[in-house]
Symmetry: C2
Subunit: 414 residues, 2 copies
């Protein structure tokens, strides 16, 4: 049984049917999935959710399918790690890491949105799925399309990391590199979606796709013991995740699953691609598009689709946004790895480094609980740290060489 009424324009409120639509034809506002919350309220409970499998689909009443998921039924319910070592290092009392770098099948939070999008694409009768990607989304669409027996086309900027490119093409999908950045790719894909009639995860079926992000928020809440987080730091590319975490808190509150509380949302960007954090810091809600220049490719979106709404969500929550340099993000990656044993990608480095910055600025209080959102895996962006980690000291295979190494630590032959 489905609790989806249809789609509704976020701006003018006009209703649309449950189809592959994403823009209001009257006011050009974005369409969102509209649920029968009153009916959900009657059937949902903590106990019911807890009795289900540990996947994102345990919250299925709040997800946009009419039936059961047919793609990615195993995705989600990643660990919320109590990060005591990192907390100590940053000088705060209580810190958690929501770790989607171990999500599967493809080790990023995109597995959530793709599971929702591709399951919906199948419900809508599509045979071919596609996406415009900065890397992680392409990995996930390619892998999950294989699992769902769908044909797939992945469009990505030609300059992405090897792990992202090979981590897509290995699935035998159609990978198209684009001479240009993500924003150019994205514009072209809107035209392709219209002409070829394919389901583009993040374009024509975006309303369904984006709902998958809410599960990242639901899980944080459930894993905190059915309590909304006090402060959450979220990486921002298109700006959707920060909004959807806010929505997750709101929905669970209104459904009576958690007590009313204030959750402050903090956005993290790389300084080389920071249209959203720049707007927040200026006190403006106007997003000035930029041409990205950062090694954090997975969040290098210069013209963010949900920029305006993410600024609004952050401001209304009493949060803030910041950005960090490429050097700082590399330090962020190393800091998380060396304190918590979690190897994240560039976007995760940004989020850790922004957290540190906000704590140092006094914007994140040291005596209140903080959740850091880690959304991707470091094995996919080796290039970013390759020259920034200590090279192994190479010695000969005998104990005398090792004794010499231990005495001096300067006997490396390479």
């Amino acid at each position: 049984m489905s609790f989806v009424k249809g789609l509704k324009c976020r701006e003018c409120g006009k209703d649309y049917p449950k189809e592959a639509l994403h823009v209001c034809s009257f006011c050009f506002g974005p369409l969102e999935v509209d649920y029968k919350y009153e009916e959900i309220k009657k059937v949902i409970s903590r106990e019911k959710i807890e009795s289900r499998g540990k996947t994102m689909w345990r919250y299925k009443e709040l997800l946009p399918l009419d039936g059961e998921p047919t793609v990615g039924a195993q995705v989600g319910y990643t660990p919320l790690v109590k990060a005591d070592n990192l907390a100590k290092k940053l000088g705060v009392e209580e810190l958690y890491v929501k770790n989607d770098s171990v999500n599967f099948p493809t080790f990023s939070f995109k597995d959530r949105v793709v599971s929702a999008a591709l399951s919906k694409a199948k419900e809508l009768g599509f045979k071919t799925v596609a996406c415009a990607t900065t890397g992680n989304l392409g990995n996930s669409v390619a892998a999950q399309a294989v699992q769902g027996n769908l044909e797939s086309y992945i469009f990505m900027p030609a300059n992405l990391e090897q792990g992202k490119v090979i981590g897509t093409s290995i699935y035998g999908t159609n990978v198209i590199g684009i001479d240009g950045n993500y924003d150019g790719v994205n514009r072209m894909c809107s035209e392709i979606a219209d002409k070829y009639g394919w389901a583009f995860a993040n374009i024509n079926i975006r309303p369904y796709y984006a709902e998958g992000s809410k599960t990242y928020g639901y899980e944080i809440i459930e894993q905190l013991g059915w309590k909304a987080p006090k402060h959450v730091v979220v990486p921002m590319a298109g700006g959707s995740l920060v909004i959807k975490i806010g929505k997750a808190v709101k929905e669970m509150t209104e459904l009576g699953l958690i007590d009313k509380s204030n959750t402050s949302l903090y956005g993290a960007q790389a300084s080389g691609s920071s249209p959203i954090s720049t707007a927040v810091k200026k006190g403006s809600d106007v997003i000035a598009p930029v041409i990205p220049d950062t090694i954090a490719h997975s969040i290098a979106i210069g013209n963010p689709a949900d920029g305006y709404y993410s600024v609004k969500a952050i401001n209304e929550s009493g949060g803030y946004a910041e950005d960090v340099s490429d050097d700082e993000l590399v330090e962020g990656i190393k800091l998380l790895a060396s304190t918590e044993g979690i190897f994240t990608e560039t976007a995760g480095g940004v989020t850790v480094a922004v957290t540190k910055k906000l704590i140092d600025q006094g914007r994140l209080p040291r005596d209140e609980s903080i959740v850091i959102c880690i959304t991707g895996n470091g094995l996919k962006t080796l290039e970013a740290v390759m020259d920034k980690v200590e090279k192994p000291c190479v010695i000969d295979a005998n104990i005398e060489s090792f004794n010499a190494f231990m005495e001096k630590r300067e006997v490396c032959t390479a």
Copy 2:
């Protein structure tokens, strides 16, 4: 409460206390953990196991700790995937993939043995842990040492893949590259363990370490609906995993958790490092050490610690062993990715390719259930497939370029 009696020599049966020992001082046989099976039988049940968290520690009565795990408490319970697409491609009726490429924290089955080893090292009072590694073990010891607040030293051949090297050094551990292959590294580490008094996961605390592998077998059994697999294909480096899967079946049978059945064990090696499969194919139980020459670095062990016992386990089970070339293993990686959306490392490619070979030979029957053991992640061995996957076609960022691509598929500018 612990069910561990102590250690016992696999050859002469002499008893030893629960300490950091691994070789019998009388007959030089390997020591194994000895359990109070009669007492375990009284307390264990399917229901009890099912009521616990979905981690490897749900089988804690059969693991070698005196207390609760202090390192890696979240490891294990990875998916057993019903691989219908791959089954169709290989022409068999029922096929499963046990997918430890999504294990965490470090995406290989080694997370299991390391969780057991480091938790035991803490019980034994060690402050520093170490290992000799072909890659995955080093990743896991480094990451889990950070989580367990232990100092760590990782010894690896200097020629390993970037993903394996950076995936270790990122944690801020001490990484020592050795000019030589794994066998040389391993010999040296035995001496270092004695002299420095460190806990080497796979040397002086090996009996505890190796027990972690059993959980891979327990999970297959539970996930098949409390039924032993009929045929299992297992990658072999030191030869331990295939033995421990056999032990898992035996233990669960004797404890009355499953019905008696025959499980045939099949070993998979790369032809460039195949001392165990060579012995099996010759009908010999003598392991002739080799100097490894294969891109499957993670299983490139020329003098396998458990070679003799793995040959014995395979033969007694009615199974077999095979090996494949580097080209075949790359095809194995691509086959699994393009049918099941699972991107495995070189060792996984070996296991898939050997499965195909054994089916083609008629040694694996097409009408009986088969489980393929996938133990590691493809993002760590990008080098192996980098030049073997289709490069993305690069086009300009406009729909005309894409239309031309779709018509001809030959407009690539790169």
